[in-house]
């Protein structure tokens, strides 16, 4: 498994490969043999979730159609991966300039227990204002994650807990088709070109 992942990542930049890597865990945990198409995030038009934004607005998949979309799963109690990725995303939006205004950009929390719309609003005020935080019931977050083939899991810790979660940044075209994933440990120089391709 590790070797296969290393080889796949070694190829570098292969969009399908990255999606495959991400989807592999899903495929293993489900125990079913899937065709490669089942490993990719489904098109946004086929997703089904009902979430609430940090501004208090209801957000459903149809609201994203018509603009390219960038989505990251995370949580505000996350000290390392999430601030790093949100800093990255903020930097990419800066690099894209005014074009970035054409994107839907969302952080979907995997920790709705702590991340209320108000908590998300406070946290996201430290990053690019175009990033919209989404939360909701655990079952709606789960429905959203399954459409992305993303995974998350609560990990207990002494008197506390943390969350394991899919760390890649998902990109979709304006019509809702899946475009690519910016993998967490991928060279960040590839990110903006990938976003631009999804926006074409």
């Amino acid at each position: 498994m590790r070797n296969r992942r290393a080889v796949i990542l070694g190829i570098g930049g292969g969009l399908g490969a990255l999606a495959f890597t991400l989807g592999l865990g899903w495929w293993r945990s489900s125990g079913a043999v899937s065709s490669s198409a089942d490993l990719l995030p489904v098109p946004i038009s086929e997703m089904d979730f009902d979430l609430i934004s940090h501004g208090g607005e209801r957000v459903r998949p149809a609201d994203w159609i018509g603009r390219p979309t960038m989505v990251f799963f995370g949580f505000t109690w996350c000290p390392d991966v999430c601030p790093t990725t949100l800093s990255d995303i903020s930097g990419w939006l800066d690099d894209l300039g005014p074009d970035a205004d054409r994107l839907n950009v969302s952080l979907i929390t995997v920790d709705p227990e702590r991340d209320s719309p108000e908590v998300l609003a406070d946290y996201l005020s430290h990053f690019d204002p175009r990033i919209v935080g989404l939360t909701g019931t655990l079952s709606e977050i789960g429905r959203a994650a399954s459409g992305f083939r993303a995974r998350f899991e609560k990990v207990p810790r002494e008197d506390d807990y943390t969350m394991d979660h899919t760390a890649g940044v998902f990109l979709f075209r304006a019509d809702g088709r899946f475009a690519s994933i910016i993998d967490y440990h991928e060279d960040r120089r590839f990110a903006v070109p990938k976003i631009r391709r999804a926006m074409q």
């Binding site: 505000t76 000290p79 991966v81 946290y123 990053f127 394991d164 899919t166 890649g168 967490y184």
Partner: protein, 157 residues
């Protein structure tokens, strides 16, 4: 060691250069100690640093302590099949002649049970415990939540 004497968090106005400073401790060189600002004291904070072992024998970072947090620990972010998790690291190896980074996305100090929110521009002491070299205390600078590291000319990034 000495930090135990300091009962309260020492806060002082810091120039951005503090996170770019380097401390030499025997064969070890400890550079760029920094952290990210936190929203309140309820969330865990991080501690990042670069450690170079210029000696002829291996050492290891086995613990950190700080008056800024009740439960400081060493962690490592790992990404397996696209899923990020943060297992506890019992010890971070410091092979002879190499530099090991505690940096975003890899090894890091996890500061749980903060005594107060970490505010940008403050500094706080962190005592590093090495298996061979013993204890040394450095000052970590709190940077913005939205940075990926100190902007140093010589940090090798």
């Amino acid at each position: 060691m000495k930090t135990q004497i300091i009962s309260t968090l020492i806060l002082m106005a810091a120039s951005p250069a503090i996170a770019c400073e380097s401390t030499t401790f025997g064969d070890l060189s400890i550079a760029n100690p920094w952290s990210r600002a936190t929203i309140g004291a309820g969330r865990p904070a991080v501690f990042y640093v670069a450690i170079t072992n210029d000696g002829a024998s291996d050492d290891a970072l086995v613990a950190i302590s700080t008056p800024a947090a009740g439960r400081p620990m060493l962690h490592e972010t790992t990404v397996t099949d696209g899923v990020a998790s943060m297992p506890h690291a019992m010890s971070i190896p410091l092979p002879a002649g190499q530099t090991v980074q505690l940096a975003p996305g890899g090894y890091h100090g996890m500061l749980m049970g903060l005594t107060a929110a970490l505010k940008e521009g403050e500094t706080f002491p962190v005592t590093l415990t090495f298996e061979v070299a013993g204890d040394v205390t450095v000052n970590a600078e709190v940077l913005s939540l939205r940075v990926e590291g100190p902007d140093c000319e010589t940090d090798g990034q």
